[in-house]
Symmetry: C2
Subunit: 393 residues, 2 copies
């Protein structure tokens, strides 16, 4: 079943959307010996159909053999560009340069904060064009796990998505719509429970619909996920986001702050995963140059928004109870990312590079049955703010 998810689904850490020939599962590349092990056929998709079908056929249907999809190739060197040689789209070129510069400067700043941990780099490409650079700092002095990825993807959007979107008649059957996507995405999980997690992701999309003008749009955001509230930290973080927004449009911050609160919502808990920031998607009703500059400004604001906070909190003394609460909130982070995040779930379903997609998950997380923080406690205050988003400025 082809998921009818928009190509703009990659709002997460996922390396955007892979070029997919058939959206079925693919062999994992994360297994040491995987390539020489035989891969199982896909599980019976028939179990997803309504149960009545099996009143007629109670035996589990045997799955069809897995269909191969284009997988990434690991590279030993970073190429100058992941764009195709014939590429002439100027915004594509400048956007790729921007995210690669941002990756360099963010990683450099984080290594300076951590002092001990160093980023490990994996470079990959796809035979059909595109690729990515994944950088991970794991188990450093300050950071439990920090991932900063860039990717450039040439893909094909399922026709259903395009048809639904254009309100075309169901009789019309346009072919698959080629698209281009480039983005930077990052999740930083510090060790100290008083130092917050931060996530950011900025991306640019283009489509080439047959007999239609090229469509393009920008998306992204930066959001803060602490386990404990330090109001000064949250105000600082939001004020940097607001400042970046205000340079372009005074309506941006209030709109994108609200959008962020709406997006990072764990429905089944009735909570957000954190205290928000900004989030936007599908932006194309502004000047393209302005939005490129805006995305650049946002990406360049991550370090000034976050580093002063983590510097203040990274060495604060804490006890086991603080750590356990941080781990519980990390469990909520896992729930959001695996259940709701559109980029992650789309990436998982369509054979994206798993290690790049799931590097957003924390090194460790915790689930306690029916945990209820004591009313009025610091833990309760955080939870209250995740249930009832506040205006921080």
């Amino acid at each position: 079943m082809i998921p009818t998810v928009s190509a703009s689904a990659s709002s997460s850490f996922a390396p955007l959307i892979p070029s997919i020939s058939t959206p079925t599962h693919a062999p994992s590349l994360s297994v040491g010996k995987a390539n020489s092990l035989s891969f199982p056929s896909s599980p019976k998709t028939s179990r997803l159909s309504p149960h009545f079908s099996s009143l007629r056929s109670p035996l589990p249907m045997r799955p069809p053999a897995a269909v191969s999809i284009e997988k990434e190739t690991m590279e030993t060197e970073r190429p100058d560009t992941f764009l195709r040689e014939s590429e002439s789209g100027e915004v594509r070129v400048r956007f790729e340069k921007m995210i690669r510069d941002a990756q360099d400067s963010v990683c450099q700043a984080l290594e300076a904060v951590d002092k001990v941990g160093k980023f490990k780099e994996d470079v990959w490409s796809r035979p059909g064009g595109g690729g990515g650079i994944s950088r991970v700092l794991q188990d450093g002095a300050v950071f439990e796990k920090a991932g900063v990825n860039v990717s450039v993807v040439y893909g094909v959007m399922p026709p259903e998505a395009y048809r639904a979107a254009r309100s075309a008649s169901p009789d019309q059957k346009p072919g698959p719509i080629p698209f281009f996507a480039a983005g930077i995405s990052s999740v930083l999980h510090p060790k100290n429970p008083f130092a917050p997690t931060v996530h950011f992701n900025y991306r640019y999309f283009e489509t080439d619909a047959p007999k239609a003008p090229r469509q393009w749009w920008f998306g992204g955001g930066t959001d803060l996920t602490p386990a404990y509230i330090f109001e000064d930290d949250v105000k600082h973080f939001h004020s940097v986001q607001k400042k970046a927004c205000d340079k372009f449009d005074p309506t941006f911050y209030p709109r994108f702050k609200q959008w962020c609160d709406d997006y990072f919502y764990i429905k089944h808990r009735g909570e957000r995963r954190g205290l928000g920031g900004i989030f936007f998607d599908d932006l194309n009703d502004y000047d393209q140059e302005m939005l490129l500059a805006f995305a650049t400004e946002c990406a360049n604001s991550v370090i000034p928004a976050y580093v002063p906070i983590v510097e203040r909190r990274k060495d604060m003394p804490f006890n086991d109870q603080h750590k356990a609460w941080q781990q519980l909130r990390r469990g909520r982070y896992v729930e959001f990312n695996l259940v709701y995040d559109r980029g992650t779930t789309f990436g998982l379903k369509t054979g994206g590079r798993i290690e790049s997609i799931l590097v957003s998950l924390p090194l460790s997380a915790r689930w306690e049955y029916d945990h209820k923080p004591e009313e009025g406690s610091e833990e309760w205050k955080l939870l209250d703010a995740c249930i009832n988003p506040k205006e921080w400025l």
Copy 2:
């Protein structure tokens, strides 16, 4: 959007399916002060629609106000039955008695193994009928987290599911189909990395379609998830499953063993979460009495299949590396349950009792970037068996 998932989706730890008037999110009951906090409106579902919609409307759509759904009420005492007073379905009555007896005997056996930890019990009911008993032993001497739940649910199946299943014309619009579901579900996560996790779940469904005879079916299974392979343990576990199956039909074990390998498959990893056991669903093409006896036999086989293994392994010495590997495999367990398990995902989307659904998650779990066990190591052997399911008998 109403998920067109079969009512038999509850193959997990989830307390089956709640009676739903509107499948939207509901306030969390797990938050200490939640009932007195104001709840947020639901996030904009419009973000799930294809991105093109926002080319016409770039602003995030404000969500509609949350619609109330029937939530559970916490009870101070276990009722004799969760069945409605007018209940006359004999199999319903006997199935409820069976799962409640099984819950008692499993919990008693586990407390005897743990010696220190005791089960905490939560009893809940729904105003429209049905309810459940959740029992959790957390942070015991042997068990990190052990949950054993029973539930009895009166629900309504979305008409789409019924229509699709019956291959009826799309013009026919049957009303929602009432159903009844009762089940026991359990996940036991021990502390020692050499002691395996076990999950089991047995359930019985009935539907009352208008102008159609009552439909019924059984589902369930028991599966083993170790972090390290002790072949004797796995053989013992599978042999007890086979023995239970063989009493009823010699085809059961091979079919249900295969079904289990197919079901507990983490598509994006190309791995199973564990080493299988048995799994079946939608069974109704046998004598109803036979299947009731079979489900009873399976439920009664959990303790003989599992307890000897955990007794052998619970006190084995281990080091940090063993523990870290166990935690990594627990991460895979979380991935399966949150991304693929039909009962869990359906429960999360439709407002089931969150604490009962998610008690299946381990107390703690771990994700390392690009972890690859050394070829030939014990960790690698486990992974190999998860990628290439074996015949253990």
